[in-house]
Subunit: 341 residues, 4 copies
């Protein structure tokens, strides 16, 4: 393989476009093709970017022998099919989260990728955020000793459209899945048990759609530690993405990022601007860095930093969380291993 | 009643001495007597303070018609007896937490106080901390809207002696009880359900004594909100006492207090001193303010700011928390109303 | 001398009352007498405090052989006389700043105190503030290396009455004098040269009275370092009292103290309360600690922590600052040694 | 002019390369040529970037009719010549600071640019830093009232090589010039008077070269306000770039940017990483934004945000600062208008 990578992007929605724009700035990448069913929207955006092929048909990408790797950014229900076809075609795969809503299907797709020997990286971009990455380094270094408790705050500025909620898999699968991955990433441990308190406090329609908009999730890690995630679809004060880890020797926490550090003091008090608005602003660097890691892994034939197994484990936790909420009881992950055995 | 209050202190351990020293500085208080079974220790400390009577016999205080109010600072197992005798003698009562380990006994003691018409204040000093007090004001003002989630971090710098743990009622009754009160205080709502993950991560002997040293407690409030408390007997970095409240319109949090604000920047990074060491330092002002409130309530015949009912409700929550931990399931508070009906 | 100290307070204005109330709480102090020319005001405040003598005549304190020490809290123009008489009478002296407006008179008064062998402490209370004290410790420890630059921000929330400004000695003598002392305290070095930019930006009447309300003062220290003080009579956002020291190995700074640490995040931004309002709130602990140091110095026959020389040097700097402002040029402190030689 | 801009970069040292790399990522820019006397170094870096021409001869850029704009990133002593030639050739000009060391030459070069009607932008990149930009917005909005005092902290992590100091024009012209511009930018006012205390505290060789490594600069603004700049060639704790503005209604300040927000609490205290290392990290966004502004100004025929006059005024202040240091007196800017009249 040359030191230049040819890439096709499948799905040109918000996240597909974001990845494309980052790929275009990467010195070792050629974006050769973009596929999207809504080809008119894709053209309105993509014409002028100098990408050779804009197509409605993903197969034109998958079957192109000149393409080394694909970015799967389509809706979740298509992921398994896209992964299996791309893997068979020998393309390296970068796939957005979640892999699927069906843990059995996810297993099969990952098997296909594994069998074909391609690289497979999942889009848990937050692992590349400089704050969370530093927390992981500090935990891994032993500076705060054995991790006893991990607290993750993850709250969106405002709920997605109702139409999205209908197909997203719900708060646990669509939103908390990032936090499940973060819990595993920071602790370096698997989870044994999940207990959830969910509530509909933001928008009653979300409840009518069978979902919650507010949740607190308690995790029991296999290494004995405890985890707590709190999620909300609506934080009036902006995107709230923080973690704290408490260990036997100390504690580490990270705060939100702010657009600037200006602090104004007047007779009315002390003021500053809200945190960065949403994931595009907060995770701008993380999106760039996850792509660089994927590209480096291919070019240097190294392991990808976020594997398909990471995606699978997070899906299991999302499923267990939903079950805990529905059945109002702690759910052990051993219930899954039993049912799959 | 004159504008000067005559007070007797029953129990001259650490907390009894603290209250005495604060009472001695109060311009409208005369400390007339102190009773402690360990009279030699009490004398070694109390001689020279100008207190007229140091005695081994609490009855000398309770039966003294010249004494207006008592501070009950003895070990918890004696509280019910002391409350009932003091109430019968018409003394106003300031009692340390918890009232007792037996919620039925607590009810009877509170009834006795209520029947005799004396003031009864419980020692939930943290309500008087300037930080937590400000959070309550902000929540009550509606600035952050309806409270959706309350997070309380409450971690001690190091565990108490094993002998204390044996008689303290355990982490939930002795330590988390402050946090149960804080949850009720900040939310302005009662709790419906409790779920606990407990662990022994600090000292195995604590586990052998039938207690935990680490716990995360999830609360479901009657108003629909959720609460999370995290406790540890050992925070290597010092006393950690913080809260966050997330509401429909915003969020408020308070941080630890520090002995100074000095921040040192060197080639190695940025450094500051640890938070204030423990409750004597952190809650210095709160201990003064709770006493002032009690004295004002008596002198002006107003309601006390922390009632016996507040103590009773917190005890119920501590009991439910222990049950949840033992039975590994969410415990509804309705189980208590059923059993007491 | 017994382990109990008998003290008389001369001058019962705002600062005299503050000291008296702190002295009354000190276990080793008896406040025996208070003198104030405005005896009606003094009685309205002091009756009921249990002080044996309230008088119009300071001589009743100075000539009382039962009194060990005096607090001189009268207006500045009486200080020299009070110091000389108290020293002759063998009283230890705590004197408010500045000693006088006349550096020659100050020298003579200090000589009288020195000749009589009494302790003499000056009321530079800020040296006892936990923040500034910690900065001094850090500088003295060598952690930040040789001090290169000291920046002092010192701004009052609102100007004093015009009548006070007329007799106060002006911004440099009345307000900046604390900062001159802080500069010497933190650097551990004397000052060689002063340059001032003054302005009337707050209240034109202050300018008509021959004073400034805004000033930036540059200092050249004898050890080669530089100092900058900024003063304002009116900081709309409250009392602003901060310092920064930059050294060869690092930097240390302290921030204002706040009444609480509550931080509110809403759609409008992030908010917190203003800093503590003014010197009574900010320096509450410092006022207590300076008195304790004075009393300990007497009881244990140790050096006082703030000497008359410290007061004299700060007065010289205030005088030089005013001269620099009037003459629009850097003023060398050597001009003073020449004139006094 | 098309919506695509052809640009040549003259000088491929550190700053020339930085601009080039940013220009290469800009969608509306073609970098057509790079000129550098050290052509071997330039080729070692620039080959593979896809730039059509790498040359030793700036004239090949200046005389190329296909080039719309030039970036002048050569050493300062060549700027006047490059500006005059580029202006005559009708190229828009982006020039690094300072324009020259000779204020008269600067005037003539600016006149040439003005006569030819090209855009001329100076590289005061800090105006585009999100922190400083926000401060300017807040001051301009009137939120803090009339500005009374501006404090600028500007300290480098370590001194440049001695060879650079020999030709840089010295601390005032090379380093403080950014701060002079910041003072004008934030205040919206010109400066009337400059007074400097300079010192050699970091490296005696810098003193032998006739320069200082530490300086505090006091400014008197025409609008009555005061400014203070502190500079050091060596801040052991990293790049220190902060400002504070005090106004009649309040204060605003910005802090340094940090690589992450992780805060570690252990038994030893509270720690965080140092600020971002140096200008490449701290001003990464600012460098991008200043280029975008320049390009937009050309494409839309709008005013550039930092003019040649801004560069000229900052040079005057640097010259006055050096004079103040040498002559140990406040220097009025009116001395310049007199001499040039």
């Amino acid at each position: 393989m040359s030191k230049q990578l040819n890439i096709g992007v499948i799905g040109a929605g918000r996240i597909g476009r974001l990845h494309t724009e980052n790929l275009l700035k990467h010195p070792q990448v050629n974006v050769k093709a973009i596929a999207d069913l809504q080809i008119d929207h894709a053209r309105a955006w993509g014409n002028g970017l100098g990408i050779p092929l804009l197509t409605q048909d993903a197969e034109q990408i998958i079957s192109d022998p000149g393409i080394d790797a694909v970015f799967i950014c389509t809706s979740t229900n298509t992921h398994i099919d896209m992964i299996e076809r791309s893997a068979k075609a020998g393309k390296h795969i970068f796939c957005e989260k979640p892999i699927s809503f069906d843990v059995r299907g996810t297993r099969l797709a990952l098997q296909a990728a594994s069998d074909s020997g391609v690289k497979f990286q999942l889009g848990f971009n937050r692992r590349f955020d400089p704050n969370f990455r530093r927390v992981r380094e500090i935990v891994a270094s032993g500076q705060i000793g054995d991790p006893h408790l991990i607290k993750i705050t993850s709250r969106d500025p405002s709920p997605p459209p109702h139409d999205y909620i209908k197909v997203s898999g719900g708060l646990f699968m669509d939103m908390a899945i990032h936090d499940f991955d973060m819990a595993r990433f920071l602790s370096g441990s698997e989870v044994d048990e999940v207990y959830v308190q969910g509530a509909v406090l933001v928008d009653p329609v979300i409840g009518e759609l069978g979902d919650v908009d507010t949740a607190v999730i308690m995790l029991r890690f296999r290494n004995g530690g405890i985890g707590v995630i709190d999620n909300s679809r609506q934080a009036a004060y902006g995107y709230d993405q923080r973690v704290e880890v408490f260990g036997s020797l100390g504690q580490v926490n990270v705060q939100n990022d702010f657009p600037n550090s200006a602090e104004i003091s007047t007779a009315g008090g002390v003021f500053r601007d809200k945190p960065k608005h949403f994931f595009l602003e907060r995770y701008e660097a993380a999106y760039r860095l996850e792509i660089e890691s994927f590209i480096n892994a291919i070019l240097n034939n190294e392991d990808v930093p976020v594997s398909g197994e990471d995606g699978y484990e997070a899906e299991l936790l999302a499923d267990a969380a939903r079950k805990s909420w529905l059945e109002k009881r702690p759910v052990s992950l051993s219930e899954y291993s039993m049912s799959t055995s």
